[in-house]
């Protein structure tokens, strides 16, 4: 009898441990909202390595990229994450938009094709996520089809969501507008570029992990 209880307890503890051992967190959002900059910051702080390259040219991330076993310590608690950085989701991809960044026509067309593939891949990965951090540019209008579609689908799939209002260092940044757009979700304002307000971000991230 004691053995049965002991095994049962071990299983419960093990399942709890596993649940917290490799939490799959997806970073989703429109292009150029700072997903990779934030994912890089986290990975650099806790593993010493970055996850991908960043650029001013939209759709720099065109493949899903991830970092396994990112162990994060916050206020004495330790959680291990699989950080999944995804290509920016958009409704329209036009190679001509890349030409003004100095890309040659063929490079721009290739980028457009890869970005389209990337969006399809991002959406496919969604079902594997335990929770999602939606990274939005707080200086942009939050009422876009992309933002509403992403968040609406996460709700439908019952995936816990944290909304990050990135780029709070910009003059046009407006967190309140973002909070008003998504009142049911926790919104945390940060600047991934300046590493500002990251304590509050980790606080929110750990709260998000509890919802899984």
């Amino acid at each position: 009898m004691i053995r049965i209880i002991r095994n049962f307890s071990r299983r419960i503890i093990a399942s709890l441990f596993n649940r917290k051992e490799n939490i799959k967190i997806g970073f989703y959002g429109p292009p150029n909202s700072g997903k990779t900059t934030l994912a890089n910051l986290i990975c650099r702080d806790w593993t010493g390595q970055e996850i991908g390259t960043t650029s001013n040219v939209p759709h720099e991330t065109r493949e899903v990229q991830f970092k396994e076993k990112v162990e994060i310590t916050h206020k004495g608690k330790v959680l291990t994450f699989k950080i999944v950085d995804t290509p920016g989701i958009a409704t329209k991809i036009d190679y001509e938009d890349f030409l003004r960044f100095g890309l040659k026509k063929n490079e721009a067309k290739k980028r457009a094709k890869e970005a389209t593939q990337g969006i399809i891949e991002s959406i496919k990965w969604l079902n594997d996520m335990d929770a999602v951090v939606v990274v939005l540019d707080s200086a942009e209008n939050p009422y876009s089809q992309v933002n509403i579609t992403i968040i609406g689908n996460l709700v439908a799939r019952k995936i816990p969501v944290l909304v990050v209002a990135n780029k709070i260092d910009l003059k046009k940044s407006n967190i309140k507008r973002l909070q008003a757009a998504f009142p049911e979700y926790e919104v945390v304002g940060i600047s991934a570029r300046d590493s500002s307000n990251m304590d509050e971000f980790y606080e929110s991230l750990f709260r998000l992990a509890k919802k899984i």
Partner: protein, 130 residues
């Protein structure tokens, strides 16, 4: 549903063998679905033989290559049928994505039977000029 060859615009009735063996006109295996009503309308109109897609052959070839790459079906012997309009290829390098459809969870590639697929993509007419 009837088919239309992307390359030469030849129309085929539903279940035509050419959609599997290759277009009788140009031999390609790259088609898109059109609605029966549209086919009837086209057959009754004077535009019957006019190509709908304002793309030259080089652009069509490039688009087919891109779509095959995006869909992961690079074997040109495998017929592709475009449908569902979740990803519209306006022309090379220009795409429109219907996010609600993509998020709906339907697979982008449907395998009907061995060697026969439906790909969740669609072409639309483009007025863009390069």
């Amino acid at each position: 549903m009837p088919y239309r060859c992307v390359h030469c615009s030849k129309l085929y009735e539903d279940a035509s063998k050419e959609v599997l063996t290759g277009c009788a006109n140009c031999g390609r295996k790259f088609f898109f679905y059109i609605k029966k009503e549209k086919l009837a309308m086209m057959e009754n109109s004077s535009q019957k033989n006019e190509p709908e897609l304002e793309l030259d052959e080089e652009e069509r070839k490039k688009i087919e290559a891109d779509v095959r790459e995006i869909a992961g079906i690079t074997n040109e012997e495998t017929p592709i049928f475009l449908d569902f309009e979740s990803v519209k290829v306006i022309k090379e390098g220009k795409y429109l994505l219907d996010l609600p459809k993509l998020f709906s969870g339907k697979p982008q590639v449907y395998q009907l039977e061995d060697g026969r697929y439906i790909v969740d993509l669609s072409f639309i007419k483009s007025d863009d000029k390069d």
